[in-house]
Amino acid sequence: MLKAIRYVLNFEWLAGLSIGAAKNVFLILFVLIGILVLLVPNDYIYQGAKKRKWWFNLKLWALGDLAFIFITYYIF
């Protein structure tokens, strides 16, 4: 019983996944978040902004952040 609990709690059921595959999981996560960011309605993004200019578009800011972190995890 204790062995089964430890197997689950310690994620031993994922131990078979290689480090390369695990790295891809992280990279895919960043891409998914990017897609979700793109799906946020523009009206919602600009709420409270002084002007509706492209540089106030927070989607672009967020995609910049994601690009940065994607590259970091791709390299390391």
Binding site: L2, I5, R6, L9, N10, F11, E12, L14, A15, I19, A22, K23, V25, F26, L29, F30, I33, V37, V40, Y44, I45, Y46, Q47, G48, A49, K50, F56, L58, W61, A62, G64, D65, L66, F68, I69, T72, Y73, F76
Partner: protein
């Protein structure tokens, strides 16, 4: 170790910060001015303040110590442990919190669930912040003792007096705007030691070559993703499930010290932008706090205590008497003070709004609550100073803080998430989810030796306690009566908009 120009730099910094606090006192006329800066802050100041509040002198010591022991995998905390969570906060949670006109996260939980949940969350955070103050004070005193030979209590008292003064006078405005200055000083000071250190070890290539040449155990030092059977506390499963999915979100979305700044933004757009701008700045933090640990592996291999790596480096690399040590010293003080001022102001807000105003004196004047907030600031400061020696019983300072966090963060985030995304979540679901999750956290931690294979399983504990909170809250909600829909407008994601669209 300080000498000549160094003293002038440090004294100018301390005096400048105190004068700034005194200056902002003139803008504090109400409790909203004190706790939320009169809702007037721009995104760039909030973003910088979030970053510098989250990172302190203890991170220079603790994270560089972890990097010395385990390599760059500790950088996960500032990269994947921040960016996705800050984006989630920016686009989903923060706009709702801001529009609701909240002062505190427990206030949201009270409106969404009930007063029991609010009080439990508020008390939990007050206790956590109060003891965390002690940990930060002690970590910094240890650093200053190693660097300057200062007695522990001398460092603690000097820091407490300066921070207490400007936080007491200027409230959140002083906290955030001094944080802006402190962030610049911290980045410059941190960059100096990284540049000098890299130059000494032969640049990036020299650093990598010299570390990996030290043996088989150093081969994974430049890998962010660690295997599940790693000897470090950072297996990739823990980083993904515990850190990315739970602790990061809980910290960036459920942490009063972080969110309170966003609530003080001058517009909804500024509130959202502050998080995204903060996420960008956050990605540079590992360079400042992690690289010194790696450089120390080359210059001082075989240290017994990884936490002494950074202080040793400062003593060795920086020339005394030219103001550079003074700048580094000011940077460390800046990191320390920015963390402490955030906790003081946030805890005073929690105490005043969620406990005092709710249970002790309901209908007092606004002036009265302003005074209570200021007194709470001073009382907490004294408590933090007095409890600081407790933290020495933990092996790694950084791990100690995370261990505290992992007890509460998962369950709190589980009910925050259900609260904003699932209108069927009920008041009793929220309460049982929170209490049940914390209980599971506690039990997992107590029996960690039997249940977990890694030495410090705080990431796993946070994931499983989050899951427990989520399951308990869901099950109890399905068997209990939900709030009427009208009560949930503005508290559940797009609930009012969905209703309008249907109509």
């Amino acid at each position: 170790m300080l000498g000549g120009l160094d003293y002038i730099v440090v004294i100018a910094y301390l005096a400048g910060i105190m004068l700034l606090g005194l200056y902002f006192k003139r803008y504090v006329h109400s409790s909203q001015d004190y706790f939320l800066a009169g809702k007037s802050l721009p995104f760039w100041a909030i973003g910088m303040s979030i970053v510098v509040s989250d990172i302190g002198a203890q991170d220079f010591v603790g994270v560089s110590g972890q990097a010395y022991r385990f390599g760059i995998s500790v950088g996960n905390f500032d990269w994947i442990g921040s960016v996705p969570a800050m984006l989630l906060g920016a686009f989903i949670f923060i706009p709702y919190f801001w529009k609701a006109g909240l002062y505190t996260i427990p206030e949201y939980l009270g409106r969404r669930y009930n007063d029991y949940v609010r009080t439990l969350a508020a008390v939990t955070w007050i206790v956590f912040f109060a003891f965390n103050l002690g940990i930060i004070f002690w970590a910094s005193a240890k650093l200053l003792n190693t660097l300057m030979g200062w007695p522990y209590w001398q460092s603690i008292i000097i820091t407490a007096v300066v921070v207490g003064f400007y936080t007491f006078c200027g409230g959140l405005t002083a906290v955030v705007l001094t944080d802006v200055i402190q962030m610049v000083i911290m980045f410059v000071g941190g960059a100096v030691i990284v540049i000098l250190g890299l130059y000494r070890v032969g640049g990036w290539d020299g650093l990598v070559d010299k570390i990996t040449a030290q043996g088989a155990s150093f081969q994974d030092y430049f890998k962010l993703i660690q295997p599940t059977d790693t000897k470090t506390p950072f297996p990739w499963t823990g980083i993904l499930f515990g850190l990315t999915f739970v602790m990061a979100n809980a910290y960036m979305i459920g942490n009063q010290a972080i969110v309170q700044r966003c609530l003080a933004a001058k517009s909804e757009w500024d509130a959202k932008a502050s998080m995204i701008w903060g996420a960008f700045l956050k990605m540079f933090i590992p360079v400042l706090v992690l690289f010194p640990g790696l450089i120390a592996i080359v210059l001082h291999p075989g240290l017994e205590d990884g936490d002494s790596a950074f202080p040793l480096l400062v003593r060795e690399l920086l020339p005394a008497g030219w103001g550079i040590v003074g700048l580094m010293f000011a940077a460390l003080l800046a990191g320390l003070m920015s963390s402490i001022d955030s906790m003081l102001n946030s805890t005073a807000t929690l105490w005043t709004k969620d406990i005092y105003e709710k249970y002790i004196r309901k209908d007092a004047s606004d002036r009265h609550y302003l005074v209570v907030g200021r007194i709470a600031t001073i009382v907490l400061l004294i408590f933090g100073v007095m409890t600081s020696p407790v933290s020495q019983y933990f092996e790694g300072i950084y791990v100690a803080i995370q261990t505290f966090l992992s007890f509460f963060q998962g369950p709190v985030f589980s009910i925050l998430m259900l609260g904003i995304f699932w209108r069927r979540a009920t008041q009793w679901g929220g309460l049982f989810g929170l209490v049940g999750g914390i209980t599971v956290s506690f039990l997992l931690y107590v029996f960690k030796g039997y249940l977990f294979t890694i030495e410090d399983p705080f990431l796993y504990v946070s994931w499983w306690s989050f899951l427990a909170g989520l399951v308990i809250a869901t099950v109890v909600s399905l068997f209990t009566q939900p709030h009427p829909e009208e009560r949930l407008y503005g508290l559940v994601y797009r609930l009012a908009e969905r209703r309008q669209n249907v109509a």
